[in-house]
């Protein structure tokens, strides 16, 4: 909402500096987005063309002696209309002007024109950026004060307000004036609404019937006969332009002007076009159509409230008028409507037809019916003054719900302190509420407050408390701490686990990333995740084609992040994302399931380049696996990795992560991403190892139930011994099986592979495993003999189970 200061000043004196006023309005809820000046004539001043004489060397140029107040300057001017005694717009040297021919901005320099120095310029409208007119100079009114800046003289200072939807009153200059009055201790005076009613009785000429009073609470109308349609006077046209409206003609401009002045939308009909002089307010019939003022033919339904005459639709109530009954240059009689339409219905109709009018902007907020009468009277008075004619006596006033008067709100005095934590003196409460136009009666510890008709938002005691707090000032309310008891603590294991995993993964050198949760099925498929058979949840009106469905996997998200960084980031590429996927439970089942997932990628160099190790090797499957193993180890969980096949991953380089301690529950998958998937993402770095983990599945593991409370296990007090074995074994035997078998020996604490070798000296189909076995007993130091015996027993088991041969020990 734009409010020109000069307009505002018609209703309230502005007694504080503008910045201060803007601050007060903003603090009290009417945010001043900016203080703008219309027009920009920086440097240009009002001058007097004191003398005009011919240029000595050019027939078409004149020399003008310009008086700017304190000095007289000689200027060369080519305009044919310049004459002595005119008030003109003078631009001194240095002013930035629009070039009259090129349209570009340039700085005015002192120059000689045909031998005479010109000390500035007498401007045309085009040079001032006002219009394209550049044939002659702009001649200002005679009373323009010499020396005044043109900005001050012509420009309008406008408050640009960012309004909240609860305050339709501030969608009117008068409403803003009332707000200014309350905040500065002034009084706002509404504009006059009286006029002579010299015509015949309106009821003998026109008739209004409201058939659907639920959608139209009140309909007021006046009739002005013998009007002369023409352009509005400059002051009115300028004001409309200042708030961004286009002037049309005097009658239409008045209806617009009064809407912005009083907040009541109005509509004017060409009375002679109304069949039988009747207006019927009713729901549209199925199939009825209306050609609206914007040139569209609208097909109406009974949900739309229509204004009709005796025979046909003439307007969409409170949204937009029809063309056939609109004001034209030939209009002689104007029926002026100010009605009160139901906000919700009005909003639905406007949204349904995708029409956003200033009228709907006001009606949808629920105006009071009392406002209609003020609006129609104000506009009638102005039409009479600007378009002439005679006003029919009386006013049509259909108000079926008249008894629904404004209900007072009872505000118990102690409710104020109860809600705000501060109390106000009764006198302060009374004057503050009264300054907002409320009627206040204080009795028996309560205030009975009747809000004014322009404040439909005041309905409950809390509304009044806010009025008090904001007008007196939020800064006057103390700051205290909550004094009540602290609520009982509730565990949130899922969230705690997720955050802990984030900490652990970042501690392992992985960067957390966060991607949009809206995507497309095509983008998801690029990562070739397993089919889940669920339809993704789709956004009805996506903002862009790439963000149309809720993701059902995170794999494409992290690969896209990898793709983005692979070319620009030289270090290790290790990233993870923690986020939800959205799985539809099916129609009628309710909200979708939103399980938390982790996905991570490991690619690029294993470490930063360094002087002690030279160019680092590429990361691979085992880097990712180590991260997953170590992550689970933080929770005391030992994972198993079972060969698996998934379309995202290279065959033979993928494993399901299962937990032996939990009945081999599957908690995720890990593998090297296929080259097809990588090229679908335009990733040239390879290999790329990826893992995906299910937070819910991890949270259900038995180790997680006792996390932080696991029993202490005594560690061996006697020294351990490490012995190495080199084994030759079929290459298909998983190393993990060898280790597990070794660890089954009761003296073995741990078994670790420290070398895997195939090649010279190892027959095809075989591999050599070097294993370090650590032995320890709880109650003694093991003897050499015992160690050998244990080792031999392990070797026998390995030979028996896997055909393992000892190469060296």
């Amino acid at each position: 909402m734009k409010v020109p200061i000069s307009w505002l000043e018609e209703y309230v004196p502005i007694t504080v500096p503008l910045d201060d006023l803007a601050h007060r309005l903003t603090m009290a809820g009417t945010e001043v987005d900016s203080i703008d000046t219309t027009g920009s004539y920086e440097g240009v001043v009002v001058g007097l063309a004191k003398e005009v004489s011919p240029h000595p060397n050019a027939d078409r140029l004149r020399l003008v002696q310009v008086m700017t107040g304190d000095e007289m300057l000689e200027v060369v001017c080519g305009a044919p209309n310049v004459a002595a005694g005119q008030k003109i717009a003078f631009a001194p040297i240095g002013t930035v002007l629009t070039d009259a021919y090129t349209g570009e901005e340039r700085k005015l320099r002192r120059s000689k024109i045909r031998g005479v120095t010109s000390n500035g310029m007498v401007c045309s409208e085009r040079e001032l950026g006002m219009s394209d007119e550049h044939e002659g100079i702009l001649v200002l009114p005679e009373d323009a004060p010499i020396g005044t800046s043109l900005n001050e003289y012509l420009g309008e200072t406008v408050l640009d307000l960012d309004l909240t939807p609860n305050r339709p009153d501030c969608l009117a200059v008068m409403g803003v004036a009332r707000e200014v009055a309350a905040l500065t201790g002034e009084t706002a005076t509404p504009p006059p609404i009286d006029y002579p009613e010299d015509g015949p009785d309106i009821s003998s000429l026109a008739k209004v019937e409201i058939e659907d009073p639920d959608l139209c609470r009140r309909y007021t109308a006046t009739l002005i006969q013998g009007v002369k349609i023409g352009p509005s006077p400059d002051w009115l046209a300028d004001r409309l332009r200042a708030i961004g409206e286009r002037p049309i003609n005097n009658v239409v401009d008045v209806t617009n002007y009064v809407m912005f002045e009083m907040g009541q939308p109005l509509h004017s009909f060409d009375f002679d076009e109304l069949s039988e002089g009747r207006v019927v307010v009713r729901r549209a019939l199925p199939g009825e159509t209306l050609l609206t003022l914007d040139g569209e033919t609208r097909e109406l339904t009974p949900d739309n409230l229509m204004i009709a005459d005796a025979g046909r639709p003439i307007g969409l109530g409170g949204v937009i008028g029809g063309t056939e009954s609109g004001i034209t240059d030939g209009t002689k009689s104007v029926l002026l409507e100010a009605a009160n339409f139901d906000g919700s219905n009005n909003r639905r109709t406007a949204n349904g037809f995708d029409i956003r009018t200033e009228a709907t902007l006001r009606f949808e907020k629920g105006l009071r019916p009392e406002l209609a009468e003020y609006g129609v009277r104000r506009a009638t008075k102005m039409i009479l003054e600007l378009a002439g004619g005679t006003v029919a006596s009386g006013m049509i006033d259909e108000w079926p719900g008249r008894d629904g008067a404004i209900q007072p709100v009872v505000l118990p005095a102690d409710a104020i302190e109860c809600l705000l934590g501060v109390s106000y003196e009764p006198g302060v409460v009374m004057t503050t509420l009264e300054s907002l136009g409320m009627e206040v009666v204080s009795r028996d510890g309560a205030y009975t407050v009747t809000p004014p008709y322009w404040r439909p938002d005041i309905a409950i005691p809390e509304d009044l408390i806010e009025e008090l707090a904001r007008v007196i000032g939020y800064e006057m309310i103390p700051t205290t701490g909550i004094t009540g008891s602290v609520p009982e603590w509730e565990p949130s294991p899922g969230r705690d686990l997720r955050e802990r995993i984030k900490d652990i993964l970042s501690g392992f050198g992985m960067q957390e990333t966060i991607s949009y949760s809206l995507t497309t099925p095509e983008a998801e498929k690029r990562a070739r995740p397993p089919e889940h058979g669920l339809e993704p949840l789709r956004v009805l009106h996506p903002l862009s084609a790439e963000h149309a469905t809720l993701r059902t996997t995170l794999r494409h998200s992290i690969l896209a992040v990898l793709a983005r960084n692979a070319r620009t980031w030289r270090g290790p590429l290790r990233m993870f994302e923690s986020g939800r996927v959205y799985l539809d439970g099916g129609e009628g089942v309710g909200l979708p399931h939103e399980p938390e997932k982790f996905v991570g990628v490991v690619a690029g160099p294993r470490s930063e380049i360094a002087w002690m190790s030279g160019e680092p090797e590429s990361s691979d499957f085992y880097d990712a696996k180590g991260i997953v193993e170590s992550l689970l180890a933080e929770f005391g969980v030992t994972a198993g990795f079972v060969p698996a096949n998934e379309t995202t991953f290279e065959p033979g380089r993928c494993a399901r992560v299962v937990i032996p301690s939990a009945g081999r529950a599957e908690i995720g998958v890990i593998g090297e991403v296929t080259s097809d998937v990588l090229s679908a993402f335009d990733i040239e770095t390879a290999p790329v190892a990826m893992f995906e983990l299910d937070v819910e599945a991890i949270s259900r593991l038995p180790e997680l139930q006792t996390l932080g409370q696991q029993d202490y296990r005594p560690f061996g007090r006697f020294p351990d011994s490490a012995r190495d074995l080199a084994l030759m074994i079929d290459e298909g035997v998983p190393a993990a099986d060898v280790l597990a078998l070794a660890e089954r020996n009761r003296l073995v604490v741990s078994a670790t592979v420290f070398d895997v070798y195939q090649g010279d000296a190892i027959p095809a189909g075989k591999k050599s495993l070097a294993v370090r076995v650590v032995y320890q007993a709880a109650d003694r130091t093991l003897t050499a003999d015992e160690l050998i015996k244990a080792e031999n027993s392990i070797l026998r088991a390995l030979e028996h189970n896997f055909g393992a041969e000892l190469r060296a020990r």
Binding site: L420, I465, E466, R470, I482, S506, V561, V589
Partner: protein, 362 residues
Amino acid sequence: MADSVNSTTGDGAEPSPDDRIAAVRDGALAALAALSAAETADGLQEWRNRYIGRSGEVTLLLRSVGSLPPEQRAGFGQGANRLKNELEAAFDQREAEISATTGPVGAIDVSLPGRTPAKGRLHPITQTIREITDAFAAMGFQTFEGPEVELERYNFDAMNIPSDHPAREMFDTFWLDRVDEEGDRSILLRTHTSPMQARIMETHEPPIRVVVPGRCYRYEATDASHDWHFNQVEVMAVDENITFADLKGTLYEFARRVFGPERKVRFRCDFFPFVEPGVDLAIDCFNCDGDPACRICRGSGWLEILGAGMVHPRVLRYSGYDPERYTGFAAGMGVERVAMLKHGIDDIRHFYTNDMRFLSQF
């Protein structure tokens, strides 16, 4: 070497004991002085071994005392000991001189980079959410989370935003192609974390003090300070006797903890359908000094970081709380906004572009 000393002492032309000492001394000092800085590490050590080491020449002189006639032993011994002390002092001095120019023996290049442990960071949004929830946790607020796909009932109706209400304009919504359990109203992507107010009140008795972080979605065009996808933290306290003054005190404390005491804070009246009175909490712009062209605050000098207010009685009643008995306050803040303020980030779109060159800075 002991043998060779013995063999020389066995020769006929025998130098006097004093001459022997003088000869060792001259040779040692000359050698010491001749050691150039470049040779220090090994050269000094060599010299030390040769003259004053365990089988060095001075040591041998001392050991040969026993082979001298008894009357010479005392004088020779003292002379050899003096030489030993003198040479040790000379060694120390020379070593110090050399150290002064080349550094200590065995020095390494401490400017070479160390072996880097793997580096990983949490996303700035995660870090900011934790900062916010931690600040409130210190004031007794517990963290809850809720669904991102939400029912219209919780997102709007329970929050005192009925259908056809113009306040819905404040929350441009992504609707989904699914309907709710009753089968008549579309489900949606929550436009704010506020629906959790109702969900928590439905399942908990007062007192309530909660913070709810999470992703939210609004159907609006993206620019430097708005994204259609963002994170909010909802704050709510409901109990008997909770006042607007408590709201101010709690949010002041939050702002102090998260932004530091130097940042200016402003409470002004604002409207949100689910609170009454309503509050806008703003913090002074980090980017400009009131520059009207500032692309962050657009010249206002203030950045709104949260909307708040006293929980609207209709919101309390909707969730089964008696507004005559209970009052409360609620606040909702944009996490990206807070992170941008804290780090001087000038474009919200950086957060979800996931460029390592951005993320690795936090």
